[in-house]
Amino acid sequence: MHHADDVPALALEAVTRVHGAGHAAVRVLGPLALTVARGEFVAIMGPSGAGKSTLLSLAGALDRPTEGCVRVFGRDLAGLSRAELAALRRRTIGYVFQELNLLPGLTALENVALPLELDGSPVREARAEAQEALVRLGLGALGARFPVDLSGGEQQRVALARAFVGTRSLLLADEPTGALDSLTGELVMRQLRARCDAGHSAVLVTHDASHAAWADRVVSLRDGCVVEHATAGATRGSGGPRR
């Protein structure tokens, strides 16, 4: 799919999400505006219940906003049919869930190749690309294993590899590094950074500041809204070594 350069990868415009109705209504998100440019890597942080996962579900068309508009590469998700949304998820959005949703009956390689095959890629090509994605995440030797034979951290990386393959250029990842040791987490962040430097876009929900720091921009949520900190400005102290 070709996107005009000035169209953001993701735009949430005056979005709110309310659960329940009447007296029981609870606003879990918004009003909120967020734009992610092409090639931009944005991290979302904030305490539990601040609305991080809700935001990501709206961006990934897994949920609909109560008010406002969500656009992915300029297309208003509210105007898309189910078939168009499914195609968007296969071709444009890579989503990594907290629950990884790997298919237990398929090997790691088959799991990663699946979205490509569903989208019509010949099996051999799909598996070659899937293998490449596994190698980049340090899993080149584990493609033949079934999810049950992988550690939690390995399963997370398989889920990431599955979100990386194909033409998808907007990655939405919800705590994809929770089960990773610190060096493996860094490997994943290097991959994400490299993808965004190559023009892809990513939104990462994380509790881990050292992972969020790989992003171009860190957005903090509190009570469903973006925390507007006046930019940090001048700081006291030297800020440590520089080279």
Partner: protein, 174 residues
């Protein structure tokens, strides 16, 4: 400070002259703590006085005195490596003092103070992370390890700020 032990550790690897000790120390600690050459010479003099290093007799009249570690120096060095460093509270932690006083005074802008600090610390964390991204893990291992230490401390500070916010929120609800 640890200049004594650092010089012993360097001399245990190979006999070196004073200026070499300065350059080796700075290379192996990624230039994080520059050494004053005067400090190196006064420390060497004290180490010699204490019998932990000795001057290597010169074959020629080279301009630089080479030093080597003694048996007593090896023992002192081994005990330094063997004993862990105590985690003392920082002498004067300005951030902690600022937050504690803001909480005690029940200032309305406590959350804003926390937010500004978080933004500043995140900025710094992002700068160090970019430097990590650019560092070569093979050739620049000391530098990467220094950055890891800085990143983890920044992370601890951010976790503490989040904890402050959570405790303040819990107090507001009760």
């Amino acid at each position: 400070m640890t200049i004594r032990q650092s010089l012993l550790a360097l001399l245990a690897t190979e006999p070196t002259h004073g200026y070499g000790l300065k350059t080796h120390f700075e290379a192996q600690t990624a230039g994080t703590w520059p050494l004053n050459i005067g400090q190196v010479y006064t420390t060497l003099a004290r180490l010699e006085r204490d019998g932990l290093v000795e001057a290597v007799p010169a074959d020629d009249d080279g301009p630089r005195q080479t030093w080597r570690i003694t048996g007593a120096g090896q023992v002192a060095l081994a005990s330094w490596f063997a004993v862990p460093i105590a985690l003392d509270p920082p002498a004067r932690d300005e951030l902690a003092v600022k937050v504690l006083l803001a909480v005690a005074a029940d200032r309305e802008d406590v959350l804003a103070i926390l937010d500004r600090q978080r933004a500043a610390t995140l900025d710094q964390l992002q700068r160090w992370t970019r430097q990590k991204a650019e560092a070569d893990p093979e050739r620049e291992l000391p530098w990467l390890l220094v950055l890891d230490a800085l990143v983890l401390r920044a992370e601890a500070e951010l976790a503490w700020l989040a904890r402050c916010e959570a405790r303040l929120a819990a107090r507001r609800r009760s």
